[in-house]
């Protein structure tokens, strides 16, 4: 628990959320590296990272299982805030403004913008697919019981799902780098009010609401501040 008195700004991600996210992230990267190594000869040399081709073959599925479990936890905790809302559609329509950093034109967004939500949903789609298809081609454990057609299907699905997931991952990572402060948010958990208001005004608003309600209880003599957003 962070000692009192050193916090600045608003808490965005709790500690457990952060740890989980990074575990998933690391596993995912390992999976991508080992997966690609076996996917295309271009990446064969990546097997070196895992102590050679056979260890790569052996370790990949186990990392996969590990990641799937953690991902499920994350998926559940992020579920509500990742539901697509009307304003998200608007946001997506204005994706150009997003990319050109014309933030002032963007509609207000909640804790997660539509992009983040898409990442969430794509991953929620891909990870189970990868798990199931992965099991279908998992040697030596399931090879014997798996009919050859299923092996083939598994191979195909695994490849395509992985492809989609990797693209998503790249976008995800890039946005992290692109939107200043978000990596810090996932590392330390807190964001400045300004950052919150700028990128996630709705979320900021609701956070403020909560705070005022709290103030009202703790300091009744003071009149509540006007809810006007400053312009």
């Amino acid at each position: 628990m962070t000692p009192p008195g050193r916090h600045k700004g608003i808490l965005r991600y709790s500690m457990w959320t952060r740890i989980n996210h990074w575990l998933v992230a690391i596993s995912f990267v390992l999976l991508v590296l080992s997966g690609l190594a076996l996917f295309h000869p271009y990446f064969w040399s990546l097997t070196g990272l895992f102590g050679g081709p056979i260890p790569t073959r052996i370790i990949h599925p186990f990392i996969g299982l590990f990641m799937t479990v953690l991902f499920m936890i994350m998926a559940i905790s992020f579920f509500k805030e990742s539901l697509i809302k009307r304003h998200d559609i608007q946001w997506l329509k204005q994706i150009k403004d997003v990319l050109r950093n014309r933030d002032d034109r963007l509609p207000p967004v909640g804790k997660n913008n539509a992009g983040q939500k898409l990442v969430y949903w794509i991953m929620v789609l891909c990870v189970p697919l990868l798990l199931i298809s992965g099991i279908m081609i998992w040697e030596p454990y399931f090879g014997d019981i798996m009919p050859v057609t299923l092996r083939r299907l598994g191979g195909v699905i695994h490849a395509y799902a992985a492809f989609l997931a990797i693209l998503t991952l790249i976008i995800h990572i890039y946005s992290g780098i692109w939107v200043k402060g978000s990596i810090h948010a996932m590392v330390r958990g807190r964001v400045s009010r300004a950052w919150a208001r700028h990128h996630h005004s709705l979320w900021y608003e609701s956070e403020m609401q909560k705070k005022r309600r709290l103030d009202a209880i703790t300091h009744p003599q003071q009149p509540p501040a006007s809810g006007q957003e400053p312009r």
Binding site: W44, P53, V148, G155, Y174, W178, K180, G181, R193
Partner: protein, 327 residues
Amino acid sequence: MRGDQINLQNIVARSASPAPSPQVRDGAVETVTKLIDVSRCIGCKACQVACSEWNDLRDDVGECVGVYDNPVDLTPNSWEVMRFNEYENEQGNLEWLIRKDNCMHCAEPGCLEACPAPGAIVQYANGIVDFNSEHCIGCGYCVAGCPFDIPRISKKDSKAYKCTLCSDRVFHGLEPACVKSCPTGSIMFGTREDMHELAETRTDYLKSRGYENAGVYDPEGVGGTNVIYVLQHADKPEIYSGLPKDPRISPMVEAWKGVTKPLMSAAIGLAALTGFFHYVAAGPKEVPPEEEEEMRAEEANEGLSRQDLNGQDRNGQGRPSDEEHRP
């Protein structure tokens, strides 16, 4: 010693190897072919035993399941099996169709296409498709890739095994062990050309004995095979214990291993680049400094006490939420 003696000059195709193998010499090397004339096979299993003997294989002693077939299926220790089928033909006469089942040594091998391990599966200029256990990683993709369901993964060492057409013997000027042993001349061996000539003769012979549909099994779907069958009923190969009528590399495997492989790889690289150049072009997404200032000012006159937020944090009320308060 194993695995380190491949003479690369003899290899025309190598699994998972983007760079082409030396191709120039292949014209000089005759393609070899094994002909299996089912009409002459008595199912004595000499080939089976000779194969295991030559390749130092000793499978488990199994059990009888009510048929002559034994072992009942290919295993990592049985690279070929005889498949028996009692077939009543149109005239109601009984035919005992006995087929030697082993690797077909396709011209376009599905196993080789599917294999992710460079050099674990090779195709020699003489047409033999061989597994190099040294490089095999046991992923089982070859199993999925093979249209004839031939490769088997060993529980012992998690490596894939199948008939090598006795590549070691052939390279030393000998015929494969099964071919040499065959007592009835049902299995023959020679250049592709000679074997096809012989196959024609055998087919004509069968036709002269009343098998109008006699023919050669050399499926185009896999670019032809270097193991070919002479069948009394070439019109229905499936009666020979399920010999596929028109085998080809499964579209699924194509979709998985074909052109999409490089395309996807490229796409991934591209995505990364796009990100980078977008950053170069559009720059980072930052909170304008004036907003920061403004916010600091606000904080000051609100006299926000830290404890509260800490409090919220402590009793967990600060959990992120996306409630909308306004319509």
